[in-house]
């Protein structure tokens, strides 16, 4: 069992395991190929259970020969049953929240960055970099600091202040680009041609993307080596959505779990919904959009993995839906009120789409549904502003009692 090569997802051409991301024949994305012959499922499970308390417990399924050094190991985030959320949505299904805000820099991006930075060190890079909508910049800056590497993180200059502050603090070279994410991404693709840097989501993208599989592995392990019936997952570039599917498929193929793929429901913001639009129109490719949404972490107007996300939603009998800014705010609030989990706007999108599916009657009684919450509410505080009322009183009992006179029972 070993990591073998890079392989083009479009035409199948093979490449050596270096820093490369696009096929020379057809420009298709490269993906890591493994040789799992000889893998014993029971032994693999034992190795996982005896492993670390984070993503490196799945090292056998990641592109390394052993467990890399990683001072900021992410993963093993809580999977919590959300009965009160199900009740509020009128569902008789089992709803589970995978709270990936509980990572070192409070988003699922720690998973992909941990893998990419470990690979960057293995390949001898001294500087890591990224194009980011915010969470990735956060994670790259932190993991580079922990690993003692220099870093450059490029983001749209108009990002949420919380994300900029929580990134710059790590001593990175924070670059705000006057443009949207797709402009930043193009610039980084050009920079990657001349700078001797590891751009985690450009020239190291095949490895980086593998980190998202750990969300699938954890889900299966935390459900007692079973797969859910349905997942609801946000879509920005489409990479997370497709890699969660790949993670489930690998374990199905290798016999670590039984059954079939869950139904995949994708979630986008209405103001940046190229994949949801393509799904609704029956297209195989996405038409790029100029993003206009409060869900900035999902604001990718030209999602490179869009075609694969479309295939996956269709193949599993799922769908890709979008919700507007008000539904996003309502989703954030609903999750907070029913589970105690405060998510960022991307999570509001995901919960908003869950609510939409519930309303359409698509989620059957007894279904087991896993909802991926990918980021932390403290990073997008503006979305919570004006959504509730604060009682302001003088510091005396009379003032409190008059404020709550109609609401509070006084204990005699």
């Amino acid at each position: 069992m070993s990591v073998e090569s890079l392989k083009c997802k479009e035409c199948g051409a093979g490449y050596e395991l270096g820093a490369g991301f696009a096929c020379e024949n057809c420009f298709g994305p490269l993906e890591v190929a493994y040789d799992y012959s000889g893998l014993d499922a029971a032994e693999a499970k034992r190795r996982i259970q005896a492993g670390s308390q984070g993503i490196w417990r799945y090292a056998d399924f990641l592109p390394f020969t052993g467990r890399p050094l990683d001072p900021l190991e992410p993963g093993l985030t809580p999977l919590v049953r959300a009965d009160r959320l199900a009740e509020r949505l009128g569902l008789e299904a089992e709803i589970w929240i995978k709270n990936d805000a509980a990572n070192p820099t409070h988003s699922f991006k720690d998973r992909v960055v941990a893998v990419a930075v470990a690979k960057a060190r293995e390949l001898g890079f001294e500087t890591v970099a990224c194009a980011s909508t915010g969470n990735l910049a956060n994670a790259v800056a932190a993991h580079a600091a922990a690993a003692g590497l220099e870093s450059y993180v490029l983001v749209p200059a108009n990002l949420e202040e919380q994300k900029l502050l929580a990134t710059g603090i790590y001593g990175t070279n924070l670059v705000g680009v006057r443009g949207n994410y797709d402009d930043v991404n193009r610039l980084c693709t050009q920079l990657a041609e001349t700078r001797p840097w590891a751009f985690v989501n450009v020239n190291l993208r095949p490895y980086y993307a593998e980190g998202s599989k750990t969300l699938a592995y954890e889900t299966a392990e935390q459900l007692g080596w079973e797969l859910p019936d349905r997942v609801v997952c946000p879509i920005a570039s489409g990479s997370l959505f497709t890699k969660v599917g790949r993670g489930f498929q690998e374990w199905l193929d290798l016999g670590l779990v039984e059954g079939g793929q869950p139904v995949f429901n994708g979630a986008q913001a209405l103001g940046c919904s190229p994949v949801a639009t393509a799904f609704a129109e029956g297209w195989d490719v996405c038409k790029p959009q100029k993003p206009e949404t409060i869900a900035k972490s999902l604001a990718i107007g030209d999602p490179a993995d869009g075609p694969y996300a479309l295939e996956q939603a269709r193949r599993t009998g799922g769908a890709i839906d979008s919700v507007g800014d008000e539904e996003i705010r309502a989703g954030i609030r609903l999750l907070a009120e029913t589970t105690g989990i405060f998510t960022e706007t991307a999570g509001g999108v995901t919960v908003g789409v869950l609510a939409k599916l519930a309303e359409r009657g698509e989620i059957g009684a007894g279904e087991r549904v896993v909802v991926y919450i990918t980021g932390e509410g403290l990073k997008t505080l503006d979305a919570a502003r004006d959504s509730f009322h604060m009682h302001e009183i003088d510091p005396d009992l009379a003032s409190f009692e008059s404020e709550f006179a109609t609401q509070q029972e006084v204990v005699a």
Partner: protein, 92 residues
């Protein structure tokens, strides 16, 4: 009118241009410019296009703007424009 433009070739395609990172050609639309590039470097045609259209992971920009926001291969070229070919990259 045919304009003279510089076309930036990405690293992955330079084997087909003898290592050149830029190609100077002329044309009045992106389609004409690409045809001129293919005339000079025949190996590029099949790598970039399929059945006369751009392959789905190929992005083309005219002076920084994605041609899918303009008129695709019919996007007109102005004097001094720079045409950039890049592979699509997923992000986050």
């Amino acid at each position: 009118m045919a304009m003279s433009v510089t076309v930036k070739i990405p690293t992955q395609l330079r084997a087909a241009t003898g290592g050149d990172a830029e190609v100077e050609v002329s044309g009045s639309t992106v389609g004409e410019v690409l045809d001129a590039v293919f005339d000079a470097h025949g190996d590029l045609r099949d790598r970039i296009t399929q059945d006369g259209d751009l392959r789905r992971f190929v992005n083309v920009y005219v002076s920084g703007e994605d041609i899918r926001f303009q008129q695709g291969l019919d996007t007109t070229i102005s004097e001094g424009d720079e045409v950039t070919i890049l592979p699509a990259v997923a992000g986050g």
